[in-house]
């Protein structure tokens, strides 16, 4: 469901451009809000969330889609943890649909999807691996890297059980906004994929803005 934000971008506590192939890791305090902006359109922001107090509790795609009884994420979706607790809620969305079935690219899955010799190409999971070793202060390890959200990606499931990779429903400037229900760590890989027509083989920058709880 399309819903515009009530937040003023110029009042954000932090704003940062994240180039394709880079990662973004930051704490969001409970009640704070994060906006992810698809600056040039049809980009994928591969995103993980964790409970900042205990990162063994994290975003769970399974719990989220089961509890809302629907596969796609949009305004009103409550993101659930692996303990089935509320983690963040999508409070604004000008894109309308986000995927959480398709997972993230990795150099290993690229060998399967495209070619064994593409194993050397940069991938989301490599960005996450770099993030967890460069930011030990968040206490994340490989086992914490699970099943993510692909903001701005459109991966329709057909009633007969097929999975399609449709053209992006996103466009330049589309955004999604989430309010944290607990102190949260956000870890984004701005997807570097060069083999997928969904981004016209041209991954582009995103912007991430964070407001503190009192900013509305």
């Amino acid at each position: 469901m399309i819903r515009e934000s009530v937040h003023d971008l110029t009042a954000a506590k932090t704003r940062e451009i994240v180039d394709a192939g880079d990662y973004f890791i930051r704490r969001i305090d409970a009640g704070g809000t994060i906006r992810i902006i698809d600056l040039e359109g049809n980009q994928a922001a591969d995103t993980l969330f964790f409970n900042a107090a205990d990162p063994s509790e994290r975003y769970s795609a399974s719990d989220t889609v089961r509890e809302q009884g629907a596969l796609y994420l949009t305004t009103g979706s409550m993101l659930k943890t692996n303990l089935n607790r509320d983690l963040l809620e999508i409070v604004a969305d000008t894109c309308g649909r986000h995927d959480t079935v398709g997972g993230a690219c990795s150099s290993e899955s690229n060998t399967v999807r495209y070619d064994l010799e593409k194993r050397f190409m940069h991938a989301c999971r490599d960005s996450w691996m770099l993030a967890i070793v460069e930011h030990e202060e968040f206490g994340l390890a490989k086992e914490d890297i699970g099943h993510n959200i692909n903001f701005f990606m459109n991966v329709p499931v057909t009633p007969s059980g097929g999975l399609e990779f449709a053209d992006g429903v996103s466009a330049p400037g589309k955004y999604v906004e989430l309010t944290a229900k607990m102190d949260t760590i956000v870890l984004i890989s701005n997807c570097p994929q060069l083999n997928n027509p969904c981004n016209a083989y041209n991954p582009t920058p995103i912007e991430v803005a964070i407001w503190s709880a009192a900013a509305v």
Binding site: V65, N82, G103, S106, V112, D115, E143, G161
Partner: protein
């Protein structure tokens, strides 16, 4: 008589309702699971016993085979691009790998509290706790619990993406997994998290472990799509030098 001759090279058991189990299954073995009464749900996860951080990855499995349902021909991939197991036979046709497990609260809300003191091993076990117990036996933690298989449960989505537990197995339905590398298998026979039946489901599942037929060059699973051919190439690289 050798010790090998004393024991048959296959093994049969029954995964009782509310039970959980784990074992290492060697490459070249197959596991046939049969729902004896209909309406069972078997939660299942795979890990590499040599390096437990390598585990079943549902998104990678679905994405590379362009499917939401899992059935005959599909390969079940690890996060490292390798094939743990192939589905070589399947009378049911659609196994869920998205909806996860029932949590203690789900089972308590629907059927009552888990209470060993009263119910003994017929207690109202839930899939989440069942997996946590099996994981801990290998020093794995809840972080290591990935999106699992729910064998014998069909979960479909309509055009809007609304999910429904749309079909469950009938008596005699069976699925056969052929293991393409040594695999630590965790499983439970606890209700699907979207099961809203009146009674806590109690459906024994027969398990038959035995040698699989050799994988030939025209194998159905390995040739289902180019992606699976490449998955089997990754397995061949992993086994390079073993001479098998």
């Amino acid at each position: 008589m050798t010790i090998q001759e004393m024991f048959p090279q296959d093994y049969r058991t029954t995964l009782l309702p509310a039970a959980h189990w784990s074992l290492t299954v060697r490459r070249g073995m197959q596991m046939q699971l049969t729902d004896t009464q209909g309406g069972a749900n078997v939660g299942m996860l795979f890990y590499n016993p040599l390096l437990l951080s390598e585990k079943y990855n549902a998104p990678d499995s679905l994405k590379c085979q362009h499917t939401f349902k899992l059935t005959r021909g599909h390969c079940l991939y690890s996060d490292m691009g390798r094939v743990f197991a192939s589905i070589t036979e399947d009378s049911f046709g659609w196994h869920d790998t998205i909806c996860g497990n029932a949590h203690p609260q789900h089972v308590a809300d629907r059927w009552g509290k888990k209470d060993y003191q009263t119910d003994r091993n017929a207690w109202l076990q839930n899939g989440h706790d069942a997996f946590l117990v099996e994981l801990a036996k290998y020093r794995l933690k809840k972080q290591d619990l990935a999106a699992n298989l729910n064998l014998f449960s069909e979960v479909s989505a309509d055009h809007q993406g609304r999910l429904a537990l749309s079909r469950q197995s009938i008596a005699g339905d069976s699925v056969t997994l052929r293991f393409e590398m040594d695999t630590l298998v965790l499983m439970h026979n606890c209700p699907h998290p979207m099961n809203s039946g009146e009674e806590y489901p109690r459906n024994p599942v027969k398990i038959h472990l035995g040698m699989a037929q050799p994988v030939l060059s025209d194998d159905y699973c390995a040739n289902l799509c180019d992606e699976n051919r490449r998955g089997f190439q990754n397995n061949a690289l992993y086994h390079l030098g073993l001479g098998l």
